[in-house]
Symmetry: D2
Subunit: 330 residues, 4 copies
C-alpha cells in the first residue's frame, strides 16, 4: 500500500511479490523497470493530492463484505462522524465513473451502472476459480472485485489513469487483507505489456475504439493469454456487415480520440484474422440512458449530452448512437 | 558502392556523407546505428550471391542516358560478349518486378509496366527541382530514376527487400557518377524512420494495404515530410463510401498479409483525420492485365493468375479485383 | 530452487520475492532483467551437468544443523547407501575451494580452511542480528552460512562463478526451509550491482587484486552500503608504506589477471580517499600452507605450488609471498 | 561551423561528413547519437555566451599562416579597429591555457607555453604525413595545429571542456578553409570512444593522473589505435621504481581529482602489461615555472602558487613537485 506522501517504489512491494510467486515471475523483467520509470516521470500534479486523500481514510476492520452488484464493505459499529469523513475524502476523488460501491454506508453512485454491464457479461465467462485474470483498462477497478466474486485467484488491473489508481486504492483500503493480497493495479497501458502469454482470462471493456490500430490491439490481447485462455471483449459497434467500419471525425459523442468502430461482424472477422479460433458475440444492444448518466459523484456531461437531443439514435455529430457488443474469443 | 564480397559499413559511405551534407544531418543519429545493426543481423543467405553478381558487372562508361519510360543506359561501342555477360548476371537477380530498364541493350521486361503508373502520377506531382524525395517501398528503384528525371536533387529509396537492393545497385552501377551521387537506397522499413520531417516529397506506392495499422502508417508518412511537403500515395482501394473498408481473409489475390483496403473516400477521410489539409484523388481505376503480367524476367504468377478466371472483376477469393487510386495530400 | 533440467527464471522466484519484501525492493528493477539476460546468454556448457547433480541429491530432513567451523547438516537415520550417493554427486562438483562442509556425514575437505579466515574476521564485525548482508565474490557460499550463524536476517551471495552456484545450491538443498529462505545466490558480478545503498554489511574477501580499477571497486563497495553500514575487506597486500603498490607481470603466484597489490597502508589511504571515515586494519599476516592446500576435494595445484620451492617468502615469480589483511571500513 | 545562436546538430555537419569519408565511417554509429545527446543535455550555461563571441568574430581572409611555435594567422591589411574587436571577443573566452596563438596580431599569451612541450615531443613522433591523428584531452587544440604542421591529414580533438571547444572554434574561424576541413573537435570524453582501432597516432597529454582507473585508460588508448599505430603519452610522474605509485589526498598542487601518479618505470610497466610491445620514455623532467605561469590571458593561480613557497621541489601539500614524462608506445 501507499507509504509516504508520494507513491514510492515500495508501494508496489506486495504486488511485485505476488508476481514473483505467480506462474509468470518473468513479468518482473519488464514490470519492475516500468514502475520505476513511471515513478520518475509521472507528471500528473494532482496525483499527490489524490493519494493524500487515500492515506487519510480511517482504518476500519470490516465485519461484512459483499462483492455483488454494489461492491460493499460494512462495519456495524461505524460512527456517523467517520462516515462523513470517508464521504468527504472520497469526494476528493471525483469524478467516479465505474461502480457502484458502498463503503461503510457511503454509497458511491457512479456515472456507469457497471453492474448492468457485468450482468450481460458474467453468464458467459465460465468459472474463474483459481484463475489469474487481467482487466485491461480497468478504470476504478469495479470489475476486478466482481472477478474475485467469481473465484479468481488474483486479479490484475491495468490502466494508465492516475485518478483511477487512487480510486482503486481507496476501495482496496477498506477491503480485508486476504482480498487486498489478490487485487492488483498497475498504472500502465497495454503497450507496456509484452507477449506475456500468462493470463487465464483477459478482459478488455470499452478500449478498442480508442486505439489507432485495432488489429495490433487485438493481437496484443491475444498474446496476453496463456494457450487456451479466453478473451472477453466489450466495445462500441455499429450495425452492418463484415465491411462496415466507422472512422468518425475529430469527435464521436463528444469523445476525442475515437478511431475504429466496426460492426460486430467485422470485429469478429478481425478476431479470427489475428488467430482466435472460437469467436462468439454473446450480447449486443444500444446503451440505455439509465446505464450511463450524471450523478452526485460525476457531475459532468454524460450520455444524454452526447446524443442528438432530437434523435436519441444519433450522436450529437450525427453518427449512430453507441451500441455495445460483448464478444468471447478463445 | 559495394566493396568486398559482402556488404560492409563502408558500402554506405557516400550515402552517409550525402546525409551529413543534406539539410537533415540529424538523420545520421538513427540511420548509422540501423545500418550497422542491419549488417550484423542480415539473414538473407542469398544476398551474398546477389551482390557478387552486381560486383561482376563490367564497368562501362555510358555515352547516353535516358531516364524516360524505359530507364536506359547506352554505350555505342558495347561488345556483344559484354551484353551477354550483363544479361546473364542480371538474370541472377530475377524476379524483376518494377521497370522497365534497358542497360547497354539488355532490355529488362519487368512484371510491372511501372511507366504506366508513372504516367498517371507524374502530371500531378509538380516540379521536383532541387527537392529531396523519398520513396517508401521503392522496390528496384525504378521510380527513383524517374524522380531524378523530374529534377529531384537527391532521391532516397527505402525498402527492406534485399533483392530489391541488389537490383537497385545493379542499375546504379551503370549510371554516371553524377547520378550515382544523387540516388540512395537503404535496406530499411518505414518503422525505422522516425519523424524526420525533412523530405519535400514522399512517395508511397503499393504499401498501405500491407500495413496492420493504416492510421499509423499515414501518420508516419506525414511525419517524414517537412512542413508544407507533399505525399503521393498510391494503393489498392475498393469502391464505396466513407465507411466501406475491406479486411480480407488470409489472402487477397493470393497475397498474404493484406489488412485494410478502404474505398478512396474512406482513405481520403483517414488522411484528413491524421492532419493533412489538402487531399485530392487524382486518379482511380482498375489495374489492367497489360500493366502487370508474367515476362521472361518474372516467370512466376502474376495478375491473371490472381483473378477469378471466369470473372476478371473478382479476385480468386471472390473479393473485388484490384482497383488503384493515386492521392496527393499536403 | 532449481526446477527443470536447466535453470529457468522461476528458479529465482523465492529470491526475487525476498527482494520484493526487503527494505530495498528497487533492486528488482535491475536484478530481474539481469537474471533473464544471464539465463539467455549463459555459456558455461557444464552448468547443465552440475545442476543435474544437484537435482539428483536425495531429499533428507535434517535432525541437526551446525553453522560452526564445519558447516554441518545431520540426520541420525541416514543410510550408508545414501551417503555414498551424496558423496558421488558432490564429487561431480569438484574442485571445492571454500569450506569445510559436512553434509550427512560426507566431509568436504576444501582447498581453503575458510574457517581460519572467519576466525580472524568474526571478532571484528560486530553483531549481524537482523542485518541484510552481502558477500561479493562469495564462492561456494561457505561464509554466507557463517553470517547466518552470526544472526544475519538475509545473506546475499554474489559471484559470477557457475560452479560456485551449483556448490551453493547443493549445500542449500540440505538446509531446512527456514534457512533456505534467508540464503540467496545470484550469478552476477559487482559491476551488475548499481549504487544500491542498501546492505548493512558488505563482505569482499579475496577479490580486490583481480580488479583492473581498485578505486572504482572500493567506490562500488561503498555504494552498496546503506548510510552507516560497514565494509569487511580482505585481500592480498605487500609490506610497505602509503606509496608502495605492486602491479605484477602476467602472473602472480601463477594466477593470471592480478592487477594491484597495495600495502595495507596504501589500501587504507585509498579507502579514506573514496569516502570511508573510519578505516581499521584488524588483522594482517602471511597465508600459511595449512590454510590453503590440495585435498581429496581439490586435486589441482595450491599454495605450495605457487611459492618458490627454495624460498617460501617469495612466489614462484619472485614477488613477495601472499600476505593478507582484513580491513573494516565505515 | 556554428550556425544559429546555439550549437545545433548541423554545426557538426562537415566533421561528420569527414568521418563518413574517412577509413573509419563506422565511428558514425556511436558518434552521431553522442553528439545529439550532448546537444540535448549540455548543461553549461556559459556555452551560449562563448559561442556568441565566436560568431561575432570578423571574417578575414588570411594572407599568411604559420603553424609553428606560435600558431599564427595574418592578413597584412588588417585594421586596428578590427584587432581591438578581435581581442575583446577572444578575451571573453578566458582563461586561455594552451597556446600561444597570434590571430591577426592579437597575441594570446596562454598559461602554458605548449610549444615547450611540443619541442620535447615532436622529435620522437616520426612523420605524421597522411595520418589520422587523435588528441585525447586536446584543450584549446593548440597541438592539433602543430600536428597538421607535421603533415597529418586529419586531426581529431577530443575534449569534454566546452570553453576549450569555443577556443578551438575561435582559432579555426580564422584558418583557411583547406585547414578547417582537416581539423575537428568533438566535445566528448574518452569513455565515449569505443575500441575504434582506427587512428594512426593517438596523443594523450596531461590526462592520465585525472583517471580513477589508469589501467583502463591505457587500454582505451590502445584500442583507439589501428594495428601498428603509436601512442604518445605525456603525464605527471614521480621518481622511483616499478612499485612506486603516489595516490595523493584530496588535492595535489591544489588540483582536485588526481588519482594515480606512477613513476615513469611503473607507467612503462603498466603500458607493457596492457599489451604495448615497444615502450620508450623519450623525455622526463621537472616542469619549470617559465612553462606554466599566470599571464594577461589567464589571470588565476598557476604553478608558482601550487608549489611550496619555501621549497619548489614540493607541492603545497608536500608531495614531490610535478615532473613530466613523455612515453612513446607501440
Amino acid at each position: 500500500m501507499i507509504k509516504g506522501s508520494l507513491v514510492q517504489f515500495s508501494a508496489f512491494q506486495d504486488d511485485l511479490s505476488a508476481v514473483a510467486q505467480s506462474p509468470f515471475p518473468e513479468w518482473l523483467v519488464s514490470l519492475a523497470p516500468q514502475l520505476e520509470n513511471w515513478l520518475k516521470t509521472q507528471q500528473h500534479g494532482e496525483l499527490k493530492a489524490w493519494l493524500k486523500s487515500v492515506e487519510q481514510l480511517p482504518l476500519i476492520t470490516p465485519t461484512e463484505i459483499s462483492l455483488g452488484d454494489t461492491v460493499t464493505v460494512t462495519n456495524n459499529q461505524i460512527q456517523p462522524g467517520q462516515q462523513a469523513r470517508i464521504e468527504g475524502l472520497l469526494k476528493q476523488l471525483m469524478p467516479w465513473r465505474k461502480g457502484p460501491f458502498d463503503l461503510h454506508g457511503v454509497h458511491i453512485d457512479t456515472e456507469w451502472r457497471s453492474d448492468f454491464k457485468w450482468q450481460r457479461v458474467a453468464p458467459h465467462i465460465g468459472d474463474l476459480s483459481g484463475q489469474h485474470v487481467a482487466d485491461i483498462g480497468c478504470g476504478s477497478g469495479y470489475h476486478l472485485w466482481r472477478m474475485l466474486e467469481q473465484g479468481a485467484e488474483h486479479v490484475w488491473g491495468i490502466d494508465p489513469g492516475q485518478l483511477f489508481m487512487a480510486q482503486f486504492l481507496a476501495v482496496k483500503h477498506f477491503m480485508p487483507k486476504e482480498l487486498q493480497q489478490r487485487a492488483h493495479f498497475f498504472p500502465l497501458g497495454i503497450d507496456d505489456l509484452g507477449p506475456l502469454q500468462c493470463f487465464d482470462t483477459v478482459f478488455s471493456m470499452g478500449v478498442l475504439y480508442h486505439r489507432r490500430s485495432p488489429i495490433d490491439f487485438l493481437s496484443q490481447l491475444k498474446q496476453l493469454l496463456r494457450p487456451g485462455g479466453q478473451l472477453v471483449l466489450e466495445t462500441i459497434v455499429i450495425e452492418g456487415g463484415e465491411q462496415d467500419v466507422l472512422v468518425p471525425g475529430q469527435t464521436y459523442g463528444k469523445m476525442r480520440n475515437v478511431w475504429f468502430i466496426p460492426s460486430s461482424k467485422a470485429l469478429m472477422h478481425w478476431l479470427r484474422r489475428v488467430g482466435f479460433k472460437q469467436v462468439e458475440c454473446v450480447d449486443e444492444g444500444v446503451t440505455e440512458l439509465a446505464e450511463q448518466r450524471a450523478t452526485a459523484w460525476m457531475e459532468g456531461q454524460s450520455l444524454a449530452d452526447f446524443l442528438d437531443p432530437n434523435d436519441n439514435s444519433r450522436t450529437i455529430e450525427g453518427y449512430p448512437a453507441p451500441r455495445r457488443a460483448v464478444i468471447i474469443a478463445k
